[in-house]
C-alpha cells in the first residue's frame, strides 16, 4: 500500500529572514539579502558578495554539551528545525517515543575543519583540540547533532548531492514515507556561510562581480547576469504520512506528489539539458498530472550564464512557455546545499499566501529566457501546484512537485 505524503512543518533561517514571518515579508517585497563582505577581499576573493546570516545564539535553548559539536551548518539547521517542529506540533517527548527520522542535506564543513586544523597546528597535540571539533568536522554534523538533541529513533542519514542536497533529502524521505517505511521524517538543507566555505568556488570565476550594487548582483535569467552570489543558512521541512498527520491533528500544509531525479553523466560543473529534462519529466510523470496543472515553477536558476539558459530551455521543453517562473535566488543568492529545501519553503509560503515572489533584477531576457514566463514583480496568484528544481555539481538533478492538500 502506498501512503500519501504531506508537509506538516516548515522552518527557515535565511539571509532574507530568520523565520517564516520575516521571510514572507521579504518575498512579498522583493527584498535582497545580499551584502558586500569586505574581509573576503582581503582573503583573496574575486567577489566579496554573499548572502548574510548571523550565527545564532543557542545558549537560551541548548546545553553546553549540545552546543559544543555545532558549527554553522548544525547551528543554522537547529534554528530552522526548531521552528518547523513547533509548527508541526512535535516536541522532544513525542519524538522520543514515536519513531521519527531525519534525512538532512549538507555537503561541507569547511569552516569547522579549517578552525580545527589551525588549532592542531598551533598546539601540536591532538588531545588539545577539544571534544567538540570532530562532531563539527564531519559532513553528517547536522544529523549527529539534531538526532541526539531531539532523541530521534528512525532513519538517520545525511544527504550530500551538491546544490541539490536539500531537494533530494525531501525526495528520498518522500519515497520512504510513501512506501510505509517511516511515518515522519525531518528533512532539509544547511549551508555554511563563512569565507572558508566558498573560496575555491569563487576561484572558478563563477560569482557575480557586480560588487558596487549587491542587491542587483543576483539576476537569474536576465540577459546581463554575470554569475551567482553564494549564500547560506538552513531550511527544514517536516514530512509525514497523511494518516500520521491526521492522527496527531497536525497542520497539513501541502502534499508532495512527485519526485524526479537524474544524473547528467557528463561534465563535472557544466549543466546539461538532457539531465534537467529527464528530472522534470520524471517528477511530473510520477505526480500523475499534466504539465499544465503546474501553476508555478520555482527555478533553480542561479544567475550563471549557461545554467540559467539551460534551465529555461528545459522548462520550455517540458512545461511550455505559459507557466509563471521565478528564481528566488534573485533575492537570496545561491543557498547551495540548502537551496532545494529553502526553495520549497519559499514556494510553500507563496502557495499559502496566494502570490508569486518576484524574480528581481530581471530586466531583459536572453534568447532562452524570452521563451518562458518569468515573473519580475510581486504577483497575486492562486497556486494549487508548484514544481521546484535543484541542480548540482557533478550533474545531480532533483525536481519536486507539491500541491495544496485537498
Amino acid at each position: 500500500m502506498e501512503h500519501r505524503v504531506v508537509i506538516t512543518g516548515l522552518g527557515i533561517y535565511s539571509c532574507i529572514g530568520e523565520d517564516k514571518a520575516a521571510v514572507l515579508e521579504s518575498l512579498q517585497n522583493g527584498k535582497s539579502g545580499i551584502i558586500y563582505d569586505a574581509p573576503r577581499k582581503e582573503f583573496g576573493y574575486r567577489s566579496a558578495l554573499t548572502g548574510f546570516v548571523k550565527d545564532p545564539d543557542l545558549k537560551p535553548f541548548l546545553s553546553r554539551r549540545e552546543r559544543i559539536g555545532m558549527h554553522q551548518p548544525a547551528m543554522f539547521a537547529y534554528m530552522a528545525t526548531k521552528e518547523a517542529l513547533e509548527q508541526a506540533k512535535l516536541d522532544i517527548d513525542f519524538l522520543e517515543h514515536h519513531e521519527t527520522g531525519i534525512i538532512y542535506g549538507n555537503d561541507s564543513t569547511a569552516g569547522a575543519v579549517i578552525e580545527t586544523i589551525d588549532k592542531a597546528r598551533a598546539r601540536k597535540d591532538n588531545t588539545l583540540i577539544g571534544s567538540g571539533d570532530i562532531f563539527q568536522n564531519m559532513n553528517c554534523t547536522v544529523n549527529m547533532n539534531l538526532s541526539t538533541i531531539y532523541k530521534l529513533k528512525g532513519i538517520n542519514l545525511t544527504l550530500s548531492a551538491a546544490c541539490a542536497s536539500g531537494s533530494h533529502s525531501i525526495g528520498m524521505a518522500y519515497l520512504m514515507i510513501k512506501q510505509g517505511l517511516q511515518d515522519r521524517i525531518i528533512c532539509g538543507g544547511a549551508q555554511e556561510i563563512n569565507q572558508y566555505a566558498m573560496g575555491s568556488f569563487d576561484g572558478l570565476g563563477a560569482f557575480s562581480i557586480r560588487e558596487d550594487k549587491p542587491h542587483q548582483a543576483s539576476r537569474p535569467f536576465d540577459r546581463d547576469r554575470d554569475g551567482l552570489v553564494p549564500s547560506g543558512g538552513a531550511a527544514t521541512v517536516i514530512i509525514e504520512s497523511l494518516a500520521s498527520a491526521m492522527k496527531r491533528g497536525a497542520p497539513i500544509l501541502g502534499e508532495i506528489i512527485g519526485y524526479g531525479f537524474s544524473s547528467n553523466g557528463d561534465h563535472i560543473s557544466n549543466p546539461n539539458l538532457d539531465g534537467q529534462f529527464r528530472s522534470l519529466s520524471m517528477a511530473i510523470k510520477q505526480a500523475g498530472i499534466h504539465s499544465d496543472e503546474i501553476d508555478y515553477v520555482n527555478a533553480h536558476a542561479t544567475s550563471t550564464p549557461i545554467g540559467d539558459l539551460m534551465e529555461a530551455e528545459a522548462i520550455h521543453k517540458v512545461i511550455g512557455g505559459k507557466v509563471p517562473v521565478s528564481s528566488t535566488k534573485s533575492m537570496t543568492g545561491h543557498e547551495c546545499w540548502m537551496a532545494g529545501a529553502s526553495e520549497v519553503v519559499y514556494s510553500m509560503l507563496m502557495m499559502q499566501n496566494d502570490f508569486i515572489a518576484p524574480n528581481i533584477n530581471f530586466e531583459n531576457p536572453d534568447e532562452a529566457s524570452q521563451k518562458i514566463n518569468i515573473i519580475p514583480t510581486y504577483t497575486e496568484k492562486n497556486i494549487d501546484c508548484f514544481l521546484s528544481n535543484s541542480f548540482g555539481f557533478g550533474g545531480t538533478n532533483s525536481s519536486l512537485v507539491i500541491k495544496k492538500f485537498k
Binding site: 554539551r65 597535540d125 588531545t127 571534544s131
Partner: protein, 82 residues
C-alpha cells in the same frame, strides 16, 4: 602561584567552560558531579587546564581527582614540579 590564586583561577575558567556558578566550585564538592562531566568533557577539562595552568594532566593524574580539593592539590603539585 599560591593556593588562593589557584582557587580563583580555577573558579573563573571552570565556571566559564562548563557554565556553572563559580560559587559551586568549593573544595569539598565532587568535581565530576558539580561540573556534570561525561567522558567527552574530560577532554575539554584537559584543554582548559593546559590553557590556564600550562600543564597537561594525564589520565592517571585525573583518576585521583574526586573533589575540587584534590584538583587544587594536583595543580599545586604539578606547578611545583614545573
Amino acid at each position: 602561584m599560591n593556593r588562593t590564586e589557584i582557587i580563583e583561577t580555577t573558579k573563573r575558567f571552570l565556571s566559564e567552560e562548563f557554565e556553572v556558578n563559580p560559587d559551586v566550585i568549593e573544595s569539598a564538592n565532587n568535581l565530576r558531579d558539580t561540573l556534570d562531566l561525561d567522558s567527552l568533557d574530560y577532554v575539554d577539562l584537559v584543554v582548559v587546564i593546559d590553557e590556564n595552568f600550562g600543564f597537561k594532566p594525564t589520565a592517571d593524574d585525573l583518576k585521583g581527582v574526586e573533589t575540587f580539593e584534590h584538583f587544587f592539590e594536583l595543580v599545586e603539585r604539578k606547578l611545583e614540579i614545573a
